[in-house]
């Protein structure tokens, strides 16, 4: 399984990532997920979210999730994941995930499992930045 992981402080270039995908006639289904910072947190309008990570552990835990995903869905051909760190403005993507597999059922299942699982175990935290500097 091809893996690509990036924790980055610069904007996620989704179009460039999409253009850089290695097309394959083996994998009939490619899912791409963009997680975008919303402009509200509960009732409050926000400027964005600052993401903090314990980077060494986050990298290690992502790789363990990739291992487990490959074991659960051996047919999955590739996974690419980019997560922003630092401040991300509302409307910008904080997470981008791509999973390719021979069939769409396993691509959807593996992608959803990966996102659900990372939210349980990868040490990244959100800090809401209110609209007015406090």
């Amino acid at each position: 399984m091809i893996r690509f992981l990036q924790l980055t402080r610069t904007p996620i270039e989704e179009a460039a990532l999409t253009a850089g995908a290695s097309a394959s006639a083996e994998f009939g289904a490619v899912i791409r997920f963009s997680g975008v910072v919303r402009g509200r947190e509960g009732e409050a309008v926000i400027r964005g979210i600052r993401y903090e990570a314990f980077e060494a552990m986050a990298t290690h835990q992502f790789q363990k999730l990739f291992d487990e995903m490959s074991a659960r869905w051996p047919a999955v051909g590739s996974v690419r994941l980019v997560h922003r760190l630092g401040f991300v403005a509302a409307g910008d993507a904080s997470l981008w995930v791509e999973v390719s597999a021979p069939h769409r059922g396993e691509a959807f299942a593996a992608c959803q499992w990966l996102i659900d699982s990372m939210k349980q175990v990868v040490p990244i935290w959100k800090h809401v930045e209110p609209l007015e500097p406090s």
Partner: protein
């Protein structure tokens, strides 16, 4: 042995520092470290039930036996994505 303890996210604010150090005997467990940390920072102790614990880059429980060179991290539930 001296065990560095790292505090992440708002645990850093509650501890008043990103890092501390706890002196424990050889063969001590994570629990020994936790007890020392909670004695020094009661507000962290109040969050004990929802605290995640790592030794190095792996999650561990309170019964994990520490070795010289280990570093402990304490943090609240994660929220990536």
């Amino acid at each position: 042995m001296n065990i560095p303890v790292h505090f992440w996210s708002y645990f850093r604010d509650l501890a008043g520092a990103a890092q501390g150090e706890v002196q424990v005997p050889e063969g001590a467990t994570v629990e020994t470290v936790l007890n020392a940390v909670y004695a020094a920072h009661p507000r962290l102790g109040a969050l004990r039930q929802s605290t995640l614990i790592a030794v190095g880059v792996e999650y561990q429980g309170p019964s994990f036996v520490l070795r010289p060179g280990d570093e402990v991290s304490l943090f609240p539930p994660v929220q990536g994505g």
